[in-house]
Symmetry: C2
Subunit: 193 residues, 2 copies
DNA sequence: GGGACGAGTATACGCTCGTTTACTAGCCGC
DNA sequence: GCGGCTAGTAAACGAGCGTATACTCGTCCC
């Protein structure tokens, strides 16, 4: 009973694609939670149990990795698609969920935190527009479609931001009703007041 | 006509308080525009035309300087005080102004950008609560006062964030009307839907 | 007028960052 | 079985950061 095949640290098969995916998903989680600038490539590599240099090799740079994360996201929020009838309610439910903890939407999360580098900002802006604002606009009729979609998006961002700042908030049924009214006001063709 | 009293670089009188104020106002402008982490003490010192070491001497540290900036702000947003009747409209006007460019409110601006350091986050959170959420709550009646104030604050944050991301937006009269409706929905005692 | 206090300065320290380079070692075709 | 391609590694680089130290020099009191 010697140490034949007793590798305490089990060797992982050398698999380029698998390693790439580990880095990608580690980066997705960390960027989503903390934002671009707050996450270091060393953290990402450690979380992915990979070597630092592989970030450079597989994605060119930290910014490249971030771009790959954004590009790999599902292109549409599930909540936006579907019948326009229940849209505002779905939006409200989703925003309420965001008050407590972020559902899986790294794009929105990234926006709240990633700001400094202009290159990164451009990436995020493009992505936010194409996946949220544009998709939301498609569901709307009437004038000022872009402005209305943008305002609803702003509410999403604000809710996420305040949660991140003051901590998780338990969304009550009254909160959901209020959010529904808020999104209705955001998306209304002509505000009534 | 020799170089008697011809100092090309005019000497500034040595004035501790004046220098402190220059640093403070330079820091206020830079933090507000770019957020805490994106601004270096070297930038602040350069903008204030002062030496780097003076930041440490007068404020202890970069975080101390940031705290001084927050503390030096007028404690209440003008828009919140006043008759509760026109509150939502004043909020809407203010938010609309934020869509185009930030009015003087470093607190809100800081929130959008300053996230990483827990110490800084605590500072911002405390300040945001005492100057915005709490003050707004005072103007409200009925249940869920804090939740309603928080939601209105979230809209502020979101509007500022999206402006910072996609650039200045010209707020139309329709935007103002929409924002008024949004704030009404945020602050309503019981949402009607 | 001379000395001391303090505003302002120059510079360096220690650290962390993203990135790069030179190397090691596993696998596959021959 | 072995040479070469390549996934993976270790270490270092240069830059930038916040901060600390040792200094210069203007100003004011005696």
């Amino acid at each position: 009973m010697r140490d034949m095949e007793a590798p305490v640290k089990d060797a992982r098969p050398r698999d380029r694609e698998a390693t790439r995916q580990r880095l990608l998903s580690a980066a997705r989680a960390l960027f989503a939670e903390h934002g671009y600038e707050q996450v270091t490539v060393r953290q990402i590599a450690a979380a992915a149990d990979a070597n630092i240099a592989l970030v450079g090799r597989y994605f060119g740079s930290k910014a490249g990795l971030f771009g790959a994360v954004l590009a790999g996201e599902p292109t549409v929020l599930q909540v936006i698609d579907g019948d326009p009838e229940g849209l505002v309610h779905r939006l409200a439910e989703y925003a309420a969920a965001r008050m407590h903890a972020d559902p899986e939407s790294p794009i929105l999360r990234s926006v709240e935190r990633s700001a400094g580098d202009p290159e990164i900002r451009a990436l995020v802006r493009e992505r936010l527009h194409s996946t949220v604002v544009a998709k939301l606009s498609e569901q709307l009729d009437g004038p000022d479609v872009a402005a209305r979609a943008r305002m609803a998006t702003a509410v999403f961002l604000g809710v996420g931001l305040i949660r991140r700042l003051i901590g998780p908030i338990e969304a009550t049924p009254a909160d959901v009703r209020r959010l529904t009214a808020v999104f209705e006001a955001c998306l209304a063709e002509e505000p009534d007041n």
